[in-house]
């Protein structure tokens, strides 16, 4: 059975909620896999060590994970987080950056420290800055359907379908509303379909005179606009409609 883990880094659990938002499809997936680790959904082996000055609570990320769904970015200033992400990579065959924070930093791009009780926790990076990521799924959160599609394709080994996600894992870490400006409008590719505006989850994109106008003050760098644009990537398989 395929062993799947959900690894919670600096995220909001919204990506996991989005996975569960698939209702009966989630049950189909859970029937086909073994969920070996998910702090939100299942008990984990917890080791508690008491010393004179502190109590150490450790939960171990299991070995031999087939697919690790990693949600959230990495706080470089938190050694637990660093240990977790490195262990995840070491123990997993496929690492998936699930959602904007893991894939491109997302809203944690704007974190800059200075808040109690850990004012030194200032640096948050997409997991791809620390480890090699195999697949990245943008979105804040990614739609339930896209999570199911990705997991299903991974289970079936459908590499053709997964190719765009493998590519985003390689090049999508700096995602931003500017992608639509730099990669589409500036390259004479934008024909004004409005997909980016519909995909944007914070309504930072408005169609003005048939072209997207990016309100970068609203943009949370989730990567959806560039990823959904049919004028950046239009995989061959989309030609097959029936």
């Amino acid at each position: 059975m395929v062993r799947i883990a959900h690894i919670h880094m600096s995220g909001c659990t919204g990506c996991l909620i989005s996975l569960t938002d698939t209702y009966e499809k989630l049950l189909d997936i859970l029937g086909a896999v073994e969920l070996v680790y998910a702090l939100t959904l299942a008990d984990e082996k917890t080791e508690i060590t008491e010393t004179d000055d502190k109590i150490l609570i450790e939960r171990k990320i299991p070995e031999n994970i087939d697919i690790a769904l990693v949600e959230g970015s990495v706080c470089l200033d938190d050694h637990h987080a660093m240990d977790d992400i490195l262990t995840t990579r070491k123990n997993s065959k496929i690492v998936v950056a699930l959602g904007a924070c893991a894939a491109s930093g997302g809203v944690t791009r704007f974190a800059r420290g200075g808040q109690m009780s850990q004012p030194s926790h200032a640096s948050f990076a997409p997991i791809g800055d620390v480890i090699k990521v195999d697949l990245a799924l943008p979105g804040c959160p990614p739609s339930p359907e896209s999570i199911v599609n990705l997991i299903t394709a991974a289970l079936e080994g459908d590499m053709e379908y997964l190719e765009p996600f493998a590519e985003i894992a390689k090049i999508g870490k700096d995602a931003c509303g500017c992608d639509v400006i730099k990669d589409v409008i500036n390259k004479s590719l934008c024909m004004g379909c409005g997909t980016c505006a519909a995909a944007c989850q914070v309504r930072a994109i408005e169609m003005v005179e048939g072209k997207p106008n990016i309100n970068s003050e609203f943009c949370i760098k989730c990567g959806l606009c560039g990823a959904q644009c049919p004028r950046v990537r239009f995989p061959e398989l989309l030609q097959k409609i029936e």
Partner: protein
């Protein structure tokens, strides 16, 4: 080079409703399909390119036949129809959405159905994808320049625009008919259209356009099972009058000629851009 993409059948058709034909660009296929869908509850909302003041186009979620009729007719400018798709299933809480678009917009819809990254609970609500033939499009200011500077008709007075027989035609509300040579309109084309190699909206359930059929009629490509079932229901309900495409003039040969023209010309542009190191969709 495949001129039309995959399809099951091609027919020539027009709406039987006189009200639709009065307002429609050609055979009134999109309006008839939408109105039939709303009235028969096959659709509970549709996305249209609405006619705004000054003969501009803007996407709108329509839920009544009146709203559909108001949007009838071609506006030769960009209407970002996909931009309101998520609103249609959220704010309007629609379960069965009909959407119409140019070939590029239909491509966008197929992509978001297959890769719905930012489209939660949306793809399953798309009940019908209609495509319209498209050679190229203009920005609004470009269309305005053609209509006002070349044809000499104010945008507020435009009743209908049409591209046919080598000319851009402008009909005013007061009965004037003016035409502009297509040669004069080329500089106002949207340059991103020049890498498009789809003329007949090859990825739609049903695509329709004027070319191939006589005036007042439309050519329809029925491409998917969903599209076929939908058209069959329309014909059974008597909202469409159909003819065999082989029995009408100028027929499919002209559609093929124009389609291949577009494909060949724009393939060259794609090659040129690649040679310059500029990106093209892949």
């Amino acid at each position: 080079m495949n001129p039309f993409g995959n399809y099951k059948t091609v027919i020539s058709a027009r709406a039987t409703d006189k009200e639709i034909l009065k307002k429609a660009q050609d055979g009134g296929i999109v309006s008839a399909a939408y109105i039939y869908g709303l009235e028969s509850k096959l659709l509970d909302g549709v996305i249209v390119a609405n006619t705004e003041d000054g003969f501009n186009a803007a996407p709108k979620v329509a839920t009544t036949p009146e709203e559909v009729l108001n949007a009838a007719g071609t506006k030769y400018t960009v209407s970002p129809n996909v931009s309101v798709l998520k609103d249609a299933v959220r704010e309007y809480a629609l379960e069965k959405v009909g959407i119409v678009g140019t070939p590029c917009q239909v491509q966008a819809i197929r992509k978001l159905i297959k890769y719905p990254m930012g489209f939660r609970h949306t793809d399953s609500k798309i009940a019908l994808v209609m495509g319209i033939f498209c050679m190229e499009n203009f920005s609004y200011e470009g269309m305005k320049a053609i209509v006002e500077e070349y044809a000499g008709i104010r945008m507020d007075d435009v009743l209908k625009t049409d591209i046919g027989k080598g000319k851009f035609w402008v009909y005013s509300k007061y009965g004037d008919v003016k035409s502009v040579k297509l040669k004069d309109t080329h500089m106002y084309e949207q340059k991103s259209c020049h890498i498009c190699t789809d003329y007949t909206a090859e990825l739609a359930d049903i695509s329709t356009g004027s070319v191939g059929s006589p005036d007042g009629w439309s050519t329809i490509f029925i491409r998917t099972e969903k599209g076929e079932a939908y058209i069959n229901k329309m014909v059974e309900a008597g909202v469409l009058e159909t003819k065999n495409i082989d029995d009408v003039k100028p027929g499919l040969d002209l559609v093929q000629k124009l389609s291949l023209q577009k494909k060949e010309k724009n393939e060259k542009e794609i090659v040129q851009r690649r040679e310059l190191g500029l990106p093209v969709p892949y």
